[in-house]
Subunit: 464 residues, 2 copies
């Protein structure tokens, strides 16, 4: 009979019985086929209730240590020996934590001004959205995105960007990366993808990892070049016409039409228009989207709330041409929506209530002011500094002509607590000569004072 | 000189000038190289301010219709002709909307009981989490997931599932599908993936679409069979040991050890343990996870809050063996986190505050009650009904032995407003004979009365 050295005559007696028997089996003291004492006799032997033994035995049966054979009793199951081979394999392979330099002023091109975030509006929106009466609030989100958000986007995109679509064409995603992955799955690995060079590098990595042939075409001062496209057919072309990332120019109408004409030559050609920060253009109205002048269903329009609300909300959207909807629906069956229903509903309400438009207008004003401060500060750096890409978005580019390399610009700034963003990592095949000594300066998150001080420090750091 | 037929002498004069000139260029009335009137003379001609003309000209320059040459004036740019080929291509290809049948009682295996959702706790959590003082609230989420959620999970998974890990091993995802995609990207297309058959079908579709060779191995009453595995090496094996989906059995300890031993034979072998609803086991304690008995870093543990909180929150997690962290970090660079910071923080606070444990305990009690109601109702159906997979989760399986086919079971139920879920779609290569006439009945979202009435109707529908 089993003798169990109880540690604790409390309510977890059954757990001790369970653990003891499990260990006896694992250690080989109780062997395959061996019969255990009946519940009644073990209970009496251990002076516990039959119920306690029953709970322990049931757990052991559930886990496969014991088998209960009706009218015969409990028997030890056959259990393989755990072969722990090569135990040394587990070492602390934990990635070493990167040292972080002390950065006091960060000219990040991706950051927003958190000081103007409409916290109170969001609190109101949460209150009205997080509502027991909404039967869909707790359900799995619609695979294309919640209908109220898609409807709000139909209107918003039409009025702000001239995008013409109906809600069935809209797919809500959790960021540009996610939407590009959907397109990759939709098209399959045989579709070549053409990227601008330089480019939003994650687009490059995503398509490369998904196995699509990736072709990069250098941009000139008007954006992606059209002539080299003519070597390809049945392709997807990823472009940022409103505000080339990272170089900041916008694509003039002539180039836009040529690009559409190229796409229009063949059924299989598509343009992915990533309109990631089109809300922020300061001296003119935002340029109309490519999608708005496409009459042949060649343009896939894409945007995000990362810049216009906050990067912490992972919500983006894409407008598919009708022609792609069927392929999308077939692909979509494979994958659940990654975007929380609650946040979709909150953003929908934020747009529908007019808060969004007000907020974007406010941000545009704030960023316009910061941009002026930055432009003025840069004037003090003298004639060895060339500024480009300044008409839109949250960043511009600064190129030096005093012999400093890009690397030196970066490290000298960092040594003084300033982070600037070299342009070379955005080039797929290394930096062409005429882009040398160029860095991005973002101003979204900085105060006027930080911008002013930062540029003052850069002046010294860069020997200007 | 241009004569512009103003419609509206309001503040949008510049827009009318802009539109008019744009149209003249598009129509070919203003030709490439043609010089426009100076701002001053056009302003005087139209009796508007020079500023108004300046705004219109600037917009046209920004869009690439005009070029401004310093000291010479404004000239029409060369603009390609838009070739609108095959305009008929755009038809209404909108997918036809599926008719929805009238379902009054839905035995969905995926639905939860929304009536016990802790709305008030979430309101409190939102209030404390959505806080101006949290500097990370608006930032792009950490690529692996917010640290507070990963820390909360380290404790939660250790105490509830025996999972041993540190926070660097945890990846927060937006659903099982998303985490499987990350694994696919991390391994690349050459890694074969072995699935249980039947299986959570999205797992099959994801790996298939990503190009991984997908092998399915039939399960027996203990889960995936080990013998057929021996034909493969350097593989990932996706299993649901706590509660096989969809058949509902749990894998006994002997099979678990054999599976680990197989995985342990080679460096490249991994087991993906999807522990999707392990919180809900009614007669015994939840079985310890595979990860908890793996000493060789072969198990990737995966879970979700879909069942334990709500499917609308798209939050899941996986624990990677140390050995995979480096490959993960290289892959992760390609892809931003799709999971909103706010919701990660809310779930972290929900766990840390103890609300989560309370809620799960409450749900377990509620589902246990529903399960008893369902089991009792099913007893009335007589001996032609076999019940399996009833020990865990939110669903069980019912098999009929009265000659009705699975299809008949489905359609006869639907004709009476009851939705049941045929098991055959979960089989990759068609339904094996011994699973015929089997459907899933989920009870998560139903009231006791609905369960009782629903089974009553099924009794008639199925001639029992």
């Amino acid at each position: 009979m089993l003798t169990i050295p109880f540690k604790n005559k409390g309510s977890f007696l059954y757990a001790e019985i369970y653990e003891f028997i499990k260990q006896e089996i694992t250690d080989g003291n109780l062997k395959y086929g061996e019969k255990l004492p009946s519940k009644r006799s073990l209970a009496s032997h251990l002076a516990v209730s039959v119920n306690t033994v029953d709970t322990a035995y049931s757990q052991l049966v559930a886990e496969g240590y014991l088998e209960a054979i009706p009218k015969r009793g409990y028997f030890v199951c056959q259990i393989a020996t755990y072969l722990m081979k090569d135990a040394n394999r587990i070492q602390d392979k934990r990635a070493t934590i990167k040292k972080t330099e002390v950065v006091t002023i960060d000219f990040s091109p991706n950051a927003i001004d958190q000081r103007i975030f409409p916290y109170d509006a969001f609190r109101k929106i949460f209150k009205s959205t997080f509502n027991e009466d909404d039967n869909n609030l707790l359900n799995k989100p619609d695979i294309q995105g919640e209908l109220e958000l898609r409807k709000a986007l139909v209107d918003l995109l039409y009025h702000s960007r001239g995008v013409r679509c109906h809600e069935e064409q809209i797919i809500i995603g959790s960021g540009t990366d996610h939407l590009l992955q959907i397109l990759g799955l939709l098209w399959g690995r045989n579709k070549p993808v053409i990227l601008e060079n330089p480019v939003y590098l994650k687009a490059y990595h995503i398509f490369e990892k998904m196995g699509n042939p990736v072709i990069s075409i250098d941009i000139d001062e008007k954006g992606i070049q059209i002539e080299p496209l003519k070597n390809y057919s049945n392709v997807a072309i990823y472009v940022t016409p409103s505000h080339q990332f990272p170089l900041g120019m916008s694509m003039p109408i002539d180039r836009r039409i040529r690009l559409l004409n190229f796409a229009n030559q063949e059924e299989g050609n598509y343009i992915i228009e990533d309109d990631y920060d089109s809300e922020f253009r300061y001296n003119e109205k935002p340029l109309p989207s490519l999608q708005s002048i496409d009459n042949s269903g060649r343009v896939i329009y894409m945007g995000t709330f990362s810049k216009s609300i906050a990067p912490s909300f992972r919500i983006s959207y894409m407008v598919l041409p009708e022609e792609l909807l069927k392929a999308y629906q077939e692909t979509a069956e494979a994958i659940s929506s990654p975007v929380s229903s609650l946040e979709q509903k909150m953003i929908a309400a934020f747009i529908a209530s007019g808060f969004f438009e007000k907020h974007v207008n406010k941000m545009r004003k704030v960023y316009k002011g910061k941009r002026i401060v930055l432009m003025n500060a840069l004037k003090n750096l003298g004639s060895q500094v060339k500024i480009t890409g300044e008409n839109a978005g949250h960043h511009l580019l600064v190129q030096l002509d005093n012999g400093l390399t890009e690397e030196e610009m970066y490290h000298r700034a960092l040594a003084r607590g300033i982070r600037v963003y070299p342009v070379s990592p955005y080039f797929i095949h290394g930096l062409p000569k005429h882009y040398k000594s160029m860095v991005l300066l973002g101003y979204g998150s900085l105060t006027d004072e930080q911008i002013h001080n930062g540029i003052g420090i850069l002046k010294k750091a860069w020997d200007l």
